[in-house]
């Protein structure tokens, strides 16, 4: 089975936010919830780089480990998903996540954050694939239709790659060899305990 990963090639990312709105559009994510976001490091200085970040679907995911209700599960494609039926909105995954992925509909409201929401790698949730019930809670399930996450598919410069880790790593390596530079696979060391030698 594939081992799904994201890889953002910062030397291509131009902070166009297509990934962000593609995600909003595909899953009709409400205002205030940002399953994906783009962050610019060294803004305005030479060497500035932008990186698109969402749930990295970590190996041995910290969110899953700390969840008091064990609401997370990892699919056969290594996508880290969770059940909103089991989530109690405690916020523990948010403390543990190295990437700021978990989002809550009501932050700051007496600690009743509501059910946690995060990037699903466009793979929905525990409900039956592509049902209204699944859509309302998690958004569409592209993976079940054989499609990859829309954020990566719509990336303006093909900076954001999604798919089997080995394949996207290979694509990235080839790019780096071809062009002669690469600022690294951002987040990989933290998420997967591995990095792509460049």
């Amino acid at each position: 089975m594939a081992r799904m990963k994201f890889l953002c090639d910062a030397d291509r990312c131009i902070e166009c936010n297509a990934c962000v709105t593609a995600c909003k559009n595909e899953h009709e994510v409400p205002w205030g919830i940002n399953r994906r976001r783009v962050i610019t490091i060294n803004d305005g200085k030479p060497g500035e780089r932008s990186v698109s970040m969402a749930c990295m679907h970590c190996t041995d995911a910290p969110c899953a480990a700390v969840c008091p209700t064990n609401c997370f599960y990892t699919t056969a494609d290594a996508v880290v998903l969770h059940s909103k039926d089991l989530c109690i909105g405690c916020g523990y995954c948010f403390y543990a996540c190295p990437f700021g992925a978990p989002q809550y509909p009501r932050v700051g409201n007496f600690g009743s954050r509501g059910k946690m929401d995060k990037c699903t790698f466009c793979a929905g949730g525990p409900e039956a694939d592509n049902t209204q019930a699944e859509f309302v809670k998690y958004g569409t399930n592209r993976l079940a239709e054989g499609k990859l996450p829309l954020c990566a598919e719509m990336c303006s410069t093909k900076s954001l790659l999604a798919g089997d880790g080995e394949i996207i790593a290979q694509i990235y390596k080839e790019r780096v060899v071809k062009r002669g530079y690469g600022s690294g696979a951002w987040g990989w060391r933290t998420a997967y305990r591995e990095t792509i030698a460049t």
């Binding site: 030397d11 291509r12 131009i14 902070e15 166009c16 936010n17 297509a18 990934c19 962000v20 709105t21 593609a22 909003k24 559009n25 595909e26 009709e28 205002w31 205030g32 940002n34 610019t40 803004d43 305005g44 200085k45 030479p46 060497g47 500035e48 780089r49 932008s50 899953a64 064990n70 997370f72 599960y73 990892t74 059940s83 909103k84 039926d85 089991l86 525990p126 409900e127 039956a128 592509n130 049902t131 209204q132 019930a133 859509f135 309302v136 809670k137 569409t140 829309l150 598919e153 719509m154 990336c155 303006s156 410069t157 093909k158 790019r175 071809k178 062009r179 002669g180």
Partner: protein, 979 residues
């Protein structure tokens, strides 16, 4: 740990049952109405309106089980890249977007805007039905009432002040068909006061480029940039303005290890990826280009053969360049000579090299001269007319190229025929309308042949004393179809102008700034027009490729498409029969395909003649067949074989001739029937030059030993006419029908019928059969003698931060331009004398954000985009911020030299090193706050954009390009203080 899907389904928890929206029912159009609380409110307002006429399209994937999902292919309505948008539609609802993988332009990609376009047809904040102001209150009216009242008022104004008192402001978001129809409408109404966004975006490009080598458009394409070894992006930030173009730029950069040079006052997201970043002072493009050329000529890096064969007047330019030694360039622009020498070497020797520019170059009092300087740099290095080279001008809106081509312009009829009698007669023939009748629609023949008022000056034409406005009367009415009110400079004046109008009609999916800017109580109408996703039609991308877009969903609410609104108005005004003589009208909706066919029948001058709707639709169907780099389909594919994607104009001859379109203009390495060409012999055959000793010599303007591949004439040659064909003995190859048509067109002088007025296309066909291009084989002009500055000259902005340079580099003298006075010279003088640069010590420049577009109403109303940019801001350097005690993110007050005393704009400070010391930058998409007053309550209820903010153009001031009336928002001054 692992929860099995099946296991979970079997034992759903109690909590799960409590969640809303669990039914698997899916949504159809009817249930949106019931679901949406917003519509419930809307319904109450609508009173007894039948449900069927108000259709609320809201999303709700997935589709109902078993319901068919159809795929509709349209084109993004935002920038000019022309990304294919794939809409999944089920039961009349647009339920999702998919990547348009097959498009060679975007290969599935989008930017933030393109990935969020589906929201446009959710339309929460759209204008839902026609409205008018009744004593300051927005009141719902029917379409019939609206058209009748507007028509009566237009006729009243016409009777009193003449047709020139009505301004027809069109849109770069029109389809080609709507743009053409709108221009035609203005002609039938009897005015040349018809314009659109190109005025404020690339009008100077069109003027500068067309005056150099023939056509005013991007010479190559986004895709062709992949061939470049060196690319200079000067005065542009495509990473935010044209994000998908960066795919081609960055991949080209990577594959060729190309030089990627950004010359900009601001370290933009585009500059972040540059191999070389040159920071310049706003408004010093000419010194920088001349600084580069100084090194090129000093080191002999120029392309001598190219200049000799294909360029006129380079020697004259060299004299001007001599003045710009590295010391002077650094003194004026701040760029060190060594860096420019390195850039010069790359640009001239690591070829092919291309020059990419946008509004940083064009939006200046010297906009046309800037563009001319850029063209000269390309000509001097031989970097035009081949792959990987060229003037890659990134246009702005999705169809600003098409709308420009189709004459939404004060200086020309469709397709650059101009306003001369011959042009009118050409189009009258195409329209099959009597020339004298057309003449009778105008105040006079003079008015008919005089350029109109630029959209940048409409309020001056409203407010100035009548005698200063060179037409029968002041402007009394603005008909605004799809144009923001906050993208034009001097907004406080515009607000006065709006208040002074007798009639204001805004036809737009959104109310726009027009609806709230001035103080109006009556005589103001909002007509809901739909977006391009709700109509059929073609649009021309920046690279001249024309893409046919099919309607994704029917117009939502009560909105109608632009063509239908024009038809209804024309019918009310009494010229619908004449105007739609050859265009089929279904009910009240003109058929887009028929309009395009009419364009084909008249579009010979620019090669809009070969792109029939059938051919364009075949291209959209076969997108995957076109090559990513060459944009060409293999010859053996049916319908499209050998074509370039989107039949980029010029696509010569009739559709049946199957010219492939022209991917790269002026490319002599290709046969004309393969999209080759030469520089256009547009400026005559020879020119008399006065020499220093007073004698006169004649210099040829035709190419010298250069010709396109396979040309039977192996040297320069003039434009083709029937007479020229006869001289060459090629006239016998015309068919009988062609000859009859030519003779009908020519009347008494058939020999004078040119390739551009020949309605048969025969002259074009025969010339191309001999490998010749009918527009002639001329030289490009380094010296464009008809322009105010024949050789580009540096001129300081009106409000310059360097008043000491004004004496040496003053702006042009005052003059009457386009019916109104341009008093820039007086203002510049006064600014120097009053010490404006001391009171307003910061340069203010403006630009785009990726999330928003143009005036921004549409995008600021889109919840998926608005969330990402919630505040108007001003970028300020940390040093300037520290001097003023300003912290990142806090509110500041911004003032400009022309703002009313005591007023200021309130916006957030973004303290960043993107801008250098002494420079500030603002996005120009915001509106809805006016000098610290929130105008939200002035919008019709429920149609106010989510995000409002101060407009940067409240701060901007005077300054107009003499050639096109282009405004100057890029080199302004301001002062900032903590709020």
């Amino acid at each position: 740990m692992l929860i099995k899907r099946t296991e979970r389904q079997a034992r759903r928890g109690v909590l799960a049952q409590g969640l809303p929206g669990q039914s698997d029912a899916g949504l159809d159009r009817r249930s949106f109405l019931r679901r949406s609380g917003l519509v419930a409110g809307g319904l109450a307002a609508l009173g007894s309106l039948p449900l069927a006429s108000v259709r609320k399209a809201e999303a709700g994937p997935p589709a109902k089980p078993g319901a068919a999902v159809t795929i509709r292919k349209n084109v993004c309505t935002h920038c000019s890249v022309g990304c294919t948008v794939i809409g999944k539609v089920s039961q009349g609802v647009w339920i999702g977007q998919e990547p348009g993988w097959d498009s060679p332009i975007n290969r599935g990609s989008h930017c933030a805007k393109g990935a969020a376009v589906r929201e446009l047809v959710h339309g929460d904040r759209r204008v839902k039905y026609p409205m008018k102001l009744v004593n300051g209150q927005w009141t719902k009216i029917s379409w019939d009432t609206a058209i009748n009242e507007i028509g009566d008022k237009l006729n009243a104004i016409r009777a009193k002040s003449g047709p020139e008192s009505v301004y027809w402001l069109g849109s770069a978001k029109f389809t080609n068909e709507s743009a053409y129809l709108y221009r035609k409408f203005a002609a039938y109404w009897g005015t040349n006061n018809v314009d659109h966004q190109a005025r404020i975006c690339h009008s100077t490009t069109v003027a500068g480029v067309a005056n150099t080598w023939g056509y005013g458009a991007q010479t190559n394409s986004y895709n062709d940039i992949r061939n470049a070894k060196t690319m200079i992006i000067m005065g542009g930030n495509p990473a935010e303005a044209h994000p998908v173009s960066l795919q081609h730029l960055l991949e080209g950069k990577e594959l060729n290890r190309a030089n990627y040079i950004v010359i900009e006052p601001r370290l933009t997201r585009t500059a972040a990826h540059a191999t070389e970043y040159v920071r310049i002072r706003s408004g010093t493009d000419i010194p920088v280009i001349y600084g580069i050329l100084w090194h090129i000529f000093r080191n002999g890096w120029e392309d001598k053969q190219f200049i000799e064969q294909r360029v006129y007047g380079m020697e004259d330019v060299r004299k001007e360049i001599e003045k710009w030694n590295p010391e002077e360039v650094e003194r004026v622009s701040g760029v060190p000579g060594a860096q420019l020498e390195r850039v010069a070497k790359m640009f001239a020797t690591e070829k092919p090299a291309t020059l990419i520019w946008c509004m940083g170059a064009t939006q200046h009092t010297v906009g046309t001269a800037n563009v001319r300087a850029f063209c000269i740099a390309l000509l001097a290095t031989g970097n035009v007319g081949s792959f990987g080279t060229g003037a890659n001008i990134f246009r702005g809106h999705c169809n600003v190229q098409g709308a420009t081509d189709l004459g939404l312009d004060i200086v020309t009829l469709p397709l650059y025929y101009g306003l001369v009698e011959g042009a009118w007669r050409h189009w009258c023939r195409v329209w099959e309308v009597d020339y004298d009748w057309m003449l009778s629609r105008f105040d006079s023949k003079e008015a008919m042949e005089t350029a109109g008022i630029p959209s940048t000056r409409w309020f001056d034409a409203t407010l100035l004393p009548q005698k200063e406005v060179r037409q029968k009367d002041n402007l009394k009415a603005m008909m605004v179809f799809g144009h923001g009110g906050n993208t034009v400079t001097r907004m406080p004046k515009a607000a006065e102008g709006i208040a002074a109008l007798d009639l204001l009609v805004v036809a737009d999916p959104h109310p726009t700034t027009w609806a709230v800017l001035g103080e109006r109580k009556d005589n103001t109408y909002l007509l809901p027009t739909c977006t391009s996703f709700e109509s059929d039609g073609s649009r021309t991308a920046s690279n001249r490729s024309i893409q046919w877009a099919e309607q994704v969903v029917k117009p939502i609410f009560e909105s109608k498409n632009d063509n239908e609104v024009m038809y209804l108005l024309a019918r009310k005004l009494g010229f619908a029969d004449r105007m739609f003589k050859n265009i089929k009208v279904n009910g009240t909706e003109p058929v887009a395909e028929d309009i395009l066919r009419e364009i084909n029948r008249g579009g010979w001058s620019t090669g809009y003649c070969g792109q029939s709707p059938e051919r364009l639709k075949a291209h959209m169907k076969n997108q995957d067949k076109f090559d990513l780099v060459t944009l060409r389909a293999p010859k053996d594919i049916p319908e499209i074989g050998g074509d370039y994607y989107g039949l980029p104009w010029p696509c010569w001859g009739t559709p049946e001739l199957r010219h492939p379109g022209t991917h790269t203009l002026y490319n002599t390495s290709l046969h004309v029937m393969d999209g080759g060409g030469t520089f256009r012999a547009r400026f005559g055959v020879e020119r008399e030059e006065k020499l220093a000793d007073g004698t006169v010599r004649k210099v040829s303007l035709l190419a010298n030993g250069s010709y396109s591949l396979g040309s039977e004439i192996r040297d320069g040659y003039p434009e083709f006419t029937y007479g020229v064909l006869k001289k060459l003995g090629w006239d016998g190859e015309l068919t009988e029908t062609e000859r009859t048509t030519i003779e009908r067109v020519g009347g008494k002088n058939p020999d004078g019928v040119s390739w551009a007025t020949d309605l048969s296309g025969g002259i074009q066909r025969v010339a191309m059969a001999h490998g010749c291009i009918h527009y002639g084989n001329g030289k490009a002009r380094a010296n464009a003698w008809n322009l105010p500055d024949a050789i580009p000259v540096h001129r300081e902005p009106i409000y310059t931060p360097r008043p000491e340079l004004v004496a040496k580099y003053p702006t042009l003298p005052n003059a009457v331009q386009f019916r109104v006075p341009n008093v820039g010279f007086d203002l510049q003088k006064a600014a120097v004398e009053k010490g404006i640069a001391k009171q307003f010590p910061l340069i203010n420049t403006s630009g785009r954000l990726v999330e928003y577009e143009g005036g921004g109403e549409e995008t600021r109303s889109n919840k998926w985009l608005a969330e990402l940019q919630q505040d108007m801001f001003i970028e300020i350097n940390p040093a300037d911020a520290a001097e003023r005690g300003i912290k990142d993110g806090q509110f500041v007050l911004v003032t400009g030299p022309e703002m009313p005393a005591g007023r200021a704009c309130r916006m957030k400070a973004l303290v960043t090193e993107r801008v250098g010391k002494g420079v500030t930058w603002c996005p120009f998409h915001f509106a809805g706050w006016f000098m610290n007053v929130d105008q939200r309550s002035k919008y019709p209820k429920g149609a106010d954009p989510i995000v409002l903010g101060e407009s940067v153009n409240i701060v901007t001031g005077y300054g107009y390009d003499p050639v096109t009336g282009m405004q100057e928002p890029k080199a302004m001054l301001c002062q900032v203080r903590a709020a």
